[in-house]
């Protein structure tokens, strides 16, 4: 039997990272993520790994990228202010196609904001924070168990895709303690970056493999290679022509879509569909992630006579739009609950495209959204008329 231990969310991230094979961490202390740095500084050297505390978050992710190019599974952790500083080199990791994991234990902003209080307001920053067209992969745990398992999934995705992957935790998830089942060593499925084969002289570090991801050598091994932040050809040499730029950008951006094939899908929890709905036969679809999803789940437990479904994306980017879209026909309304002024809401509205009313229970004062606030929104949205599908030109099931 795997042992059950009582653990903090931030600690579970470190345990997940180590279980995934991470051997390098570089970071800068910031509330509410610092426990990740502290535990990494204790655990990594004991397993032959390296903990670096850099002069700022710009340098932290820079060192992570360097170590990853030298063959390490590498990660860093931060919160909003540090995540902002990292955006420049997140783009570098995208362009160099260097796997790494960036944990953002979200706190309330903007700027220093409410430094010790939770928020979920970096959803769009995770998607669009670095400049230029780029893919984005972001996972969001709702429990200490998922701090472990989604960290493993984040490393697997980063290595498979050769791109930075974010773990969007928040102050509540990162700081709370729960029982966690730690898998037996060796029982986890771990993914290693695609490795080059064949003669060293023929290695082309940016020639796409069968799934579009080029094999990555490590500095110091048999393959000598060149990597550049500038637009580049298959040899990693600067190239300015339009055809190269078009093919590189489209290949990089396509990583988001490819990621959908193997990233953890959304969790869908249906309440017993026996009771009275907002409208007969039309339960409300709750959409929430991270700590807000715990409040949303509580609403369902508090009101068992009202059919509701919780749609909880574990992967925020790419957004699981197909799964959400498929649920819309069976629901009378959607309520999005998140600790910001409406970020994932935009994505849900885009997918709903007027087919069902979408309401939001939002909060950005540093306090958790309560089940009562979500319930009020559920009751309010139930009173809205459902838009006529024909009038909007919608065919059910197709977008």
């Amino acid at each position: 039997m795997s042992p059950v231990v009582f653990m903090q969310g931030n600690e579970a991230v470190v345990e997940g990272a180590l279980a995934a094979g991470a051997r390098f961490y570089a970071g800068y202390p910031i509330t509410p993520s610092s426990e990740i740095a502290e535990l990494a500084s204790r655990r990594l050297p004991a397993v032959g790994g390296v903990y670096l505390q850099m002069e700022d978050e710009i340098a932290s992710i820079g060192a992570v990228i360097g170590a990853s190019l030298a063959g390490a599974k590498a990660f860093t952790a931060t919160s909003g202010p540090g995540f902002s500083l990292m955006q420049e080199n997140i783009g570098l990791a995208v362009m160099l196609e260097v796997p790494c994991v960036v944990v953002n234990v979200m706190r309330s902003g903007p700027s220093t904001g409410l430094a010790t209080k939770p928020a979920q307001a970096d959803v769009m920053q995770a998607r669009w924070g670095t400049h230029g067209d780029h893919p984005a992969v972001a996972l969001a745990p709702w429990s200490v168990q998922e701090c472990f398992s989604l960290t493993v999934a984040a490393f697997n995705a980063a290595e498979r895709l050769r791109t930075p992957v974010f773990l969007l935790s928040d102050e509540i998830i990162g700081r709370m303690r729960e029982g966690v089942t730690l898998p037996e060593p060796g029982s986890l499925e771990l993914v290693e970056r695609p490795a080059p084969t064949g003669p060293a002289a023929e290695y082309r570090p940016y020639r796409p493999g069968p799934d579009g991801v080029p094999p990555l050598a490590a500095f110091g091994g048999p393959y000598v290679f060149h990597a550049t932040s500038s637009m580049h050809d298959e040899m990693g040499v600067s190239a300015n022509d339009a055809a190269t730029a078009a093919s590189v950008i489209s290949r990089l951006v396509a990583k988001s879509r490819f990621a959908l094939d193997f990233l953890p899908g959304p969790e869908v929890v249906r309440s017993a569909e026996t009771g009275r709905g907002c409208r007969p036969g039309e339960p409300v679809l709750l959409v929430a992630f991270g700590s807000s999803a715990r409040s949303a789940r509580q609403v369902m437990l508090d009101h068992p006579d009202h059919p509701m479904t919780l749609f909880r994306p574990r992967c925020l980017w790419p957004f699981p739009e197909k799964e959400l879209s498929a649920l819309l026909a069976d629901h009378g309304a959607v309520v999005v609950a998140e600790m910001n002024t409406g970020q994932l809401l935009l994505e849900v509205e885009r997918v709903a495209a007027g087919r069902v009313p979408v309401a939001a229970a939002l909060r950005s004062d540093g306090e958790i959204i309560t089940p009562e606030q979500i319930w009020e929104t559920v009751r309010e949205v139930a009173r809205r008329p459902r838009p006529a599908a024909q009038a909007l030109g919608w065919k059910e099931g197709g977008r």
Binding site: D56, I58, G66, A70, A74, L92, L96, V224, S229, S238
Partner: protein
């Protein structure tokens, strides 16, 4: 069979992109000759560059190379060296890259004494973007963003590195080729952080805007610049970051090997 500098030169990328009268080509040759003098294995050598004229040098080498973001070469290099202490890691930066946008990384890399050789080309301005002032532009100088003269004082990079704790600090100029090659070789061979600052002219911008004449005049005055201290300025033997961290790894392993909680006293 020992290597020559040509073994490290990516001849396919020639001719290089630097302006006539620029000294970067000379620095490149000295660097690659230093590689050859130490017979460095290209597979075990990583050249890290940032952004700027000298930051294009990665295109011209046959070793491993990574061209990163502006000012962050030392951050990448630190990650590489910390994870793979057996590799030779070289950071090539200009004065804008190293001393200005990357100034924080520079002093901390020196303080950390991480085993990186920084070869910094100092031409007193940002050449790549059109000759704006940098943190090494002398006060009073004219640049494309100090048309009435520069209001700020310049950093002395070698003093900065010395104060921060670098093991090896040296200055030379592109007019002193043999000294340049010798100093870079020494820097590469040593432990801990090393800086070789190479003074080089920028006739295209700094020289033109300050009426310093063309390349011949600029090279001559650089060669004879009064009061410019060149040669090895600091040679210390503090343990490198990697050496110290290896001790930490040993201690951590010993503690966990005994199944002791590191918090237990």
């Amino acid at each position: 069979m020992s290597r020559t500098y040509l073994d490290y030169l990516n001849e396919k990328a020639m001719p290089h992109m630097w302006c006539p009268g620029c000294g970067n080509g000379n620095i490149l040759k000295a660097l690659l000759a230093a590689f050859a003098a130490l017979d460095l294995d290209p597979r075990k050598t990583v050249v890290v560059t940032g952004i700027g004229c000298w930051g294009k040098a990665d295109d011209y080498v046959t070793t491993n190379a990574v061209h990163g973001t502006h000012g962050r070469a030392l951050a990448l290099a630190t990650g590489i060296k910390a994870y793979r202490p057996d590799l030779t890691v070289v950071a090539l930066m200009g004065d804008g890259d190293c001393a200005t946008i990357g100034g924080n990384h520079f002093i901390h890399a020196a303080r950390r004494n991480v085993g990186i050789t920084a070869v910094v080309a100092n031409n007193h301005n940002y050449g790549m973007t059109g000759g704006q002032f940098s943190a090494t532009t002398p006060a009073g100088s004219r640049t494309s963003t100090s048309p009435y003269g520069h209001a700020e004082e310049a950093f002395d990079l070698c003093e900065l590195a010395r104060a921060a704790g670098a093991n090896y600090v040296a200055r030379t100029t592109v007019c002193h080729y043999r000294q340049m090659e010798k100093l870079i070789t020494e820097a590469l061979a040593g432990e801990g952080f090393s800086l070789v600052e190479v003074m080089t002219p920028c006739p295209t911008y700094f020289g033109r805007l300050n009426r310093r004449g063309g390349p011949p005049e600029m090279w001559r005055s650089l060669k004879e610049e009064p009061g410019l201290r060149t040669g090895c300025l600091v040679k210390a033997s503090r343990p490198s970051f990697e050496a110290r961290y290896a001790e930490i790894q040993k201690a951590a392993r010993a503690m966990t090997g005994e199944e002791r909680d590191p918090d237990a006293r």
